[in-house]
């Protein structure tokens, strides 16, 4: 369908190499919104180049968990390491203290995130969206950023839309701009929070195509998704969450073929 979706990471100088083998290490993460417990001791390790798809019923905490990984949500217990750095907190006399905003911002640079609702900057063109952070955050020269931005947009099939504003783009196009925007920061990890849930059915394919290509090029990815076909085909591991906990995890063939838990079976039977 999209012949352009070829070697996307070439434009950012190839795959950004994570420092260690374990890109994400979440240990016993607890999170509550007031009295509502959303995460009840979630532990997950994601290795370099792995694609992990997180599934589960709505309200199971999967989106919240992914948002904790780049500290868009505070956590009340546990620790999350990305590339060996603890995210959002530092230890002071045995207690966790929230880190300074500047440090958190620095940590987020190497974690790309794609949102369900795209969240493009409305007042900037597609190109403007992509070059904003490289220029502002990394201090890249404008010419260099523009060249990078155009290249990235071309590789997600949007060469002709560089000057378009988000309001002039379809949902699928906006989401591909959002992916290019995240990639422009040369992230070592990509988080996808239900990236196709807000899309019309005919646009889901073009976004999944780009994600599939990223996975093929070795990007480490955590994807919250209801796209079981994508999970089956692309995921190295599928993680089933329910009620704030990881119920089970495993290779897609095993988890979809012989789910160990009744609740996984029930969930899969509803969605497949």
């Amino acid at each position: 369908m999209m012949a352009q979706a070829e070697n996307i990471l070439g434009s950012i100088g190839g795959l950004p190499e994570p420092t260690g083998d374990e890109v994400v290490q979440a240990i016993d993460v607890y999170k509550n919104f007031g009295r509502l417990e959303v995460l009840k001791g979630v532990s997950l390790t994601v290795r370099r180049g792995e694609v992990v798809v997180v599934i589960g019923p709505s309200g199971s905490g999967k989106t919240t968990f992914v948002r904790c990984i780049n500290h868009l949500e505070k956590i009340q217990g546990g620790r999350i390491f990305v590339n060996g750095h603890m995210i959002g907190y530092r230890e002071a006399r045995g207690r966790l203290v929230e880190d300074r905003g500047r440090n958190i911002a620095r940590q987020r640079r190497e974690i790309g995130m794609v949102f369900q609702r795209f969240n493009l900057f409305h007042h900037k063109t597609a190109l403007g969206n992509v070059i904003e952070a490289p220029i502002q955050v990394l201090g890249m020269k404008r010419d260099e950023a523009v060249a990078l931005g155009r290249d990235l947009l071309a590789r997600v099939g949007l060469a002709s839309k560089a000057e378009a504003y988000p309001a002039q783009l379809s949902g699928g196009q906006q989401q591909r701009v959002a992916i290019a925007r995240a990639l422009a920061m040369k992230p070592k990890l990509m988080l996808f929070d239900e990236p196709t849930s807000a899309l019309d059915p005919e646009m889901i394919g073009e976004v999944l195509e780009v994600m599939r290509e990223l996975a093929r090029e070795g990007m480490t990815m955590i994807v919250v998704s209801h796209e079981m076909g994508f999970a089956r085909e692309v995921a190295d591991r599928v993680v089933m969450m329910d009620d704030g906990q990881i119920l089970e995890e495993g290779p897609p063939a095993r988890l979809f073929g012989q789910p160990a838990h009744k609740r996984t079976q029930a969930f899969l039977s509803k969605i497949l």
């Binding site: 987020r108 904003e132 955050v137 990394l138 925007r181």
Partner: protein
Amino acid sequence: MSFDWPFFWHYLFRPSGAYLHGLMLTVVLSVVAQTLGTILGLFAALGRMSRLTPLRLVVRGYIWIMRGTPLLVQIVFIYTGLAAGGIFRFQDISLGFMTIPGNVQAGLLALSLNEAAYMAEIIRAGIASVDHGQTEAAKSLGMTYGQLMRRIVLPQAARFVIPPLGNEFNAMLKNTTLVSVIGVPELLLTTETLTSATFRVFELYSVVALYYLTLTTIWGWVQARIEAKFGQSTAQAEAVAGFGERLFGRALFGAARSKA
């Protein structure tokens, strides 16, 4: 009815030097107070939305007091009240080429502080109008609070803020009359001085009314142009960003670009 037409025409079209000075003072006071009020209002708006509860409470208290008491009372309080209480007396400041009298400083301060409270609420609403998802996206790209405010949120809030800002400036042009009570020789006080010398109240107040009407009409025209230019259409979104950057970005945050 007694209306001295020749007198009226004379003062309308051949204003004295003192009168023109009053007019200039009115315009300068309005522009400076609105500018300071907007800048201060921006910080008050950010403080009002801060995560720090004490800061939030202080700003709320400030807005509560400034909006809940008459501007006239604030002006007299700041200039005459503080001096009478032995707390602070405004002294003339000499800049070499000009002198800023104490009462002008006090008037300017009162107008700015008062305006800041109103602008804070307007800017807060403007910031709230920018959907939170963009803030999260900016954060996820590693932008700091300052960067995301300056580059993402405020340029878009500006579009929302510009129409009420125009109305505020219209009100400001007229509110400057209040500093006449502390002896600032702006347009109204100049008129009063003339009145006490000539007793031509009807004619002179007609003249001064027309002067204010002219000022607000000119501003209304400028405002309409600005709003037309920075309307909602997508094609002009770029221009909006440019204006927002000029209004909030460059002016406030200077060259503090991406030092990281």
